[in-house]
Amino acid sequence: MTDELVRIDDVSKVHFQAGLFRRRTRSVVAVQNLSLSITANTVLGLVGESGCGKSTLARAVAWLDPPTSGRVVVAGIDPALGDRSRMALFRRTVQIVFQDPYSSLNPRCSIGESVAEGLRNQGVPPDRRRREVSRLLDMVGISSSRTSERPHRFSGGQRQRIVIARALAVQPRFLILDEPVSSLDVSIQAQMVNLLLDLKRELSLTYLFISHDLNLIAYLSDEIAVMRDGRIIEQAPAEQLIAAPVHPYTRALFADAPVLPSPRSGSS
C-alpha cells in the first residue's frame, strides 16, 4: 500500500513576462519549491483557492508546461531526461483531464476520432482502434453507436465522459484531474465522481484530484494536500486532516465550507 507512484520533488514554476527582445521584465512565481508524493492506487486531493497555482502545478506535472526547476518522476519515468522513447512512455503513463468539457474536445473531430487519438499515436491498426473505442465509450457510459457524432451533440457531462475515455485509451496509471466536475451540474457531479471512483478501482489508477470544493475532496480523497500561494502548507491522510487540521489556513478553509459529509470510508 505504500508503493510510491508519483514523486514531485522541489518543483517551481516561474512565469516570465518577457519584454521586447526577450528582456525579462517581471516574473511571477506560480509554484514554489513544491514537493508531493502520491501512493499507487490512491487519490490525492489537492485543495486551494483559485489562483494558488493548482492548475499550473497540474500542467507542470503533466509536462505540458514543464517546471522551471525541480523533478517529476512517475512510475520511475523522469520526462526531463527527454529522449523520445522515455517521453512516449511518460505520455502513456500520465494523462490529464481539464475543467472545461466544452473546449476539451476538438469541435472538428468526431468523438470516435478524439478517443482514438492516443491509440493512433501508438500505431494501433484501424480495426482494433474501432473496437477499442467502442469498449472505452461503453466503459464511461456513452453509447458506442454515437462514435461518428461531433462533440456539439453531447452535454457537458457526456463530453467529460468522452474526455475520460480518451485519456484512458492509452492505459495510463496516473490521472491528473484538474477540477474535472466543477463546471458540471451538481446532479451530474455525483455521477461523474462515482464513475471516476469505479474506474480507479477497476483499472487500479492513481489520481491527483484538484478541486476547490472541500466536500468533494473530502468524499473521494485518501490523502489531502492544502495549497496556498504556490506551496503545500499541509498534507495528511483525509480523516486526520478533516478531523484535526493543524495549519490555521486549513482550519479557516474548512470552517468556511458549508456542509461536510463523513469521509469516504463512512459513505460506502
Partner: protein, 274 residues
C-alpha cells in the same frame, strides 16, 4: 425584422457568390464566349460607341472590342487575385505557425519583420519590387503575395497562440500526438473560417493593387487584356469616349465589391455559428 435582415444578408451572399462564380466561368471560357479576339485591331471602326453592330460595349482607340477585352481581362484579374493570395497564404502559414509555436524570441523577430513589410505603402512597395525584378504579371503576383503575407501571418499567429492553450490541444500533446498532426488536425481546421474570410478580402485588395500597377504601367503589359491597363489607355479619351473608362471601372468595382461583401458576410455567418 430580424428575419428580414437575415433574408437580405442571404440574398446578398447569393448575389456575390453567383457573380464571382460567373466571373470564374467567364475567365475560363473567355475564348468561347468573346465575340472577337481581344487583340484584333479594326482601325476604321475605332471609337465606336457602345451598341454599334459588332461592338456591344464599344471599341477603343485601335478598334478593339471592349466587351471581348473585359471578358479576357477577367482572366488576368482572377489569375493575379488567386495566385497572389495563395502565395500570401503560403508565406503567412509558415510565418504565422512558426511565430505562434516557436517561442517568444522567434515570435518577436518574425512579427517585427511582418510589421516592417506592412509599414510600407502597398503600391509603392509593389512598384519598387516590380522595378527591380521587371514589369509583368508574374512579378506583380509575387510582389502582391509577399506584401499581403503579413495579413495572413498575423491572423494565423493569433489563432495559433489562442488554440495551443485550448484544453483539446493540450490533451492531444498529453497523448503524445506529433506536432505535424496537431497542426493539421487540431490547429488548421479550427482557424479555417478566419483564413477563408481573409482570403476573400485579400483577393479584393490584390485586384485593386493589380489594377493600380497596370494603370501605372508597371503591371500587365500591352497588348495583354487587363482592366487596369484598359483604364490607363482610356484616360486620354475620357471626354470623347467615356465608355472606355466606364466598363473596366465597373468590372473592377463590382468584382472588388463582391469579394468584400462575400468576406464580410462569410465572417458574420461563421462567427454566428460559433
Amino acid at each position: 425584422m430580424r428575419r428580414r435582415t437575415e433574408i437580405f444578408v442571404r440574398i446578398l451572399l447569393g448575389v456575390s457568390v453567383v457573380y464571382l462564380m460567373g466571373l470564374l466561368v467567364v475567365a475560363i471560357a473567355a475564348p468561347h464566349i468573346a465575340p472577337t479576339d481581344p487583340r484584333l485591331q479594326n482601325i476604321p471602326a475605332r471609337f465606336s460607341p457602345p451598341g454599334t453592330a459588332g461592338f456591344l460595349l464599344g471599341s477603343d482607340e485601335f478598334g478593339r472590342d471592349v466587351f471581348s477585352r473585359i471578358l479576357f481581362g477577367a482572366r488576368s484579374a482572377l489569375l493575379v487575385g488567386g495566385v497572389s493570395v495563395i502565395l500570401a497564404l503560403g508565406i503567412g502559414l509558415v510565418v504565422g505557425l512558426t511565430a505562434g509555436l516557436a517561442g517568444k524570441a522567434v515570435d518577436s523577430a518574425l512579427m517585427l519583420l511582418m510589421d516592417a513589410v506592412l509599414s510600407f505603402p502597398t503600391v509603392l512597395l509593389a512598384i519598387t519590387v516590380v522595378s527591380v525584378f521587371g514589369y509583368g504579371l508574374p512579378q506583380v503576383m509575387t510582389a502582391i503575395g509577399v506584401i499581403f503575407s503579413p495579413l495572413f501571418a498575423r491572423i494565423i499567429r493569433t489563432e495559433t497562440l489562442a488554440l495551443k492553450q485550448e484544453p483539446f490541444v493540450l490533451s492531444a500533446r498529453a497523448l503524445g500526438t506529433p506536432l505535424r498532426r496537431i497542426i493539421t488536425v487540431h490547429l488548421l481546421p479550427n482557424m479555417l473560417p478566419k483564413i477563408v474570410v481573409q482570403c476573400t478580402v485579400t483577393v479584393a485588395l490584390a485586384l485593386v493593387v493589380e489594377a493600380s500597377l497596370s494603370f501605372l504601367g508597371v503591371g500587365a503589359q500591352p497588348p495583354t487584356p487587363s482592366w487596369g491597363l484598359m483604364l490607363r489607355n482610356a484616360r486620354n479619351y475620357l471626354f470623347d469616349a467615356p465608355w472606355l473608362a466606364l466598363y473596366p471601372g465597373l468590372a473592377i468595382g463590382s468584382t472588388v465589391f463582391c469579394c468584400n461583401l462575400l468576406g464580410d458576410l462569410l465572417g458574420e455567418l461563421l462567427q454566428r455559428d460559433q
